[in-house]
Amino acid sequence: MSKNNTIKKREPVLMQGNEAIARGALDAGVNFYAGYPITPSTEIAEIFSYELPRRGGKFIQMEDEIASISAIIGGSLAGAKTMTATSGPGFSLMLEGIGFAKMTETPCVVVNVMRGGPSTGLPTKPSQSDIMQARWGGHGDAPAIVLYPNSVMESYELSIRAVNLAEKYRTCVVLLSDEVLAHMRETVNLPDLSKIKIIDRIKPTIPPEWYKHFPENPKYPMPMASFGEGYRFHVTGLSHDEKGFPTNKAKEISRMMERFRKKIEYYIEDIVQIESFFMEDAKIAIFTAGITARAAKEAVMKARKRGIKVGLLRPLTIWPFPDGAVKKYLGDKKAIIVPELNEGQLSHELKRVMGGIWNYEIRKTKNIVELHKNSGELITPEEIFQTIREVK
């Protein structure tokens, strides 16, 4: 595969965030992409349409986003590593399919390059307003793995990680980006292919008559056969038993739901990634992710130069929410500033972890300062710096 790679030598290259996501996925082994054009994610589809036929992979532009998510789930069941990319409106359409992938424990990756909403909103402007949708958007209870980079290089890395986590935990992983991150160009040093850790799904080794497509044990490894390999299993969006056959038995349904939850809970340390920046001696903390964290970093540096002890805690894994890290790093801070391009989605979750917005004692000691912007513009380092000065 590397022979056919258009990046012949891994020299530093100037690359766009969307391109980095596509490159990462290709390096992680994605060999089937189905998608539908939508700004600001379209470049991802364009790159796949160029690259996949050259590598013996498969690309198709489907008739809509619902068809796209459906096709990648079908493709994944047939044995491919699959991805689709979209933005807010398309992501809304994909939610039923994402739920199906989680229900049937079928690996796939959905990229959501966030733009302003609601509805058609701001196709060419950034937003971070799908943070909650990525977790709670579909109907029914099902945990989510959602990653969110803050640079072009990290878009590449988290794209690989998203594919790996999907294959490892047999679920639909959502990779968030935003319009600015997707379209800005940065110089990146891609690692040699030999240095990239790639996780492939585990194949069953037992005879077909013993095979259960949904093993009782929610612990890794979770072997998964593909269609056409002699296992002839059944897959349904209905609540099902270990063999995949529909069931109405409370015990079997509870076991299935528990499995969805536990397979994420057991491995939370493996899944959650955070970055702590000048947090050791910080009195004030900033908590944010994605593109806004870039501005926050600059604000931290500016404040540090003026002797203000401020740090940044940034989740790279948005869901499952890094409760442990938040408690550990933010528990003793005088104030926590949460800048985000929405009306308070990360801060809502932060308040849950910090003790709930109605808990008076906590409210008194933990001052959570929210900084929102939903007009399609970025939050500037200066705005965050001013907020730091106000809470100091």
Partner: protein
Amino acid sequence: MPKISQKAIHKYLRHDKNFPHVWCSGCSNGIVLGATIRAIAELGYKKDNIAMVSGIGCSSRMPVYVDFNTLHTLHGRAIAFATGIKIVKPEMKVIVITGDGDATAIGGNHFIHGARRNIDMTVILINNNIYGMTGGQYSPTTPYGDRTTTTPYGNIDPTFDICDLAIGAGATFVARTTAFHAIEAQSFIKQAFEHKGFSLVEIISACPVIYGHLNKKGDASAMMKSMKENVILIEAFEKLSDEQKNGKQKRGIFVNKIRPEYIEEYDKLVRSLQDEKGGE
């Protein structure tokens, strides 16, 4: 046509815990399942090599009963899921089981685009003129004036001719028969399986418990008799006067042609790119 024994059919069923099936007595779905299995047995397809994909509805419950690679998907999306399977594993025989509501209402978009692409799969569409699973609401094929739970005063919504729809969208094998004509159904399904490209077999079926009951169509046998009398061969239909055509439907193979198939075209593209690289 070689006779396929009952015993042979049992080889293709999953006996472990899926029976009795969910279908009402008098439902035609079992007849279609039988015809499908007999066609598969006749062609000697390997069970491992068949992917049966369905959407949501009465007909879409079929895959759970058969011992293939089976996928029961979302309402209307079977063809989109099947497209993913076929692209990734072109060597598999992909069969879609769907109904009138599943394929032409919520799944209409995927139905026409599957046909347009001419992607190699066989869609067996069981048309019972109603949403049975939800208790009898009108579908895009419910005849004018008929009663359903959502047309209490009679249906005013015009219908789709599913075969015309498929032909218009570019399907390369289009046939219609009924559950009464079970041997013909088997033959059409077999020909559809052997066809390279997007093939559709519409099978008009009886839903005596819901559609039949709401519209006083009689019991299952009366509905079968009505299919026998009113769904007639294309040649016989064409001979009728306009007046006589009223209330009658054509059955037979409407289209059987060759047009570039999607997977083959994709493979051609891949080969041309490899040649291009070889020449570098």
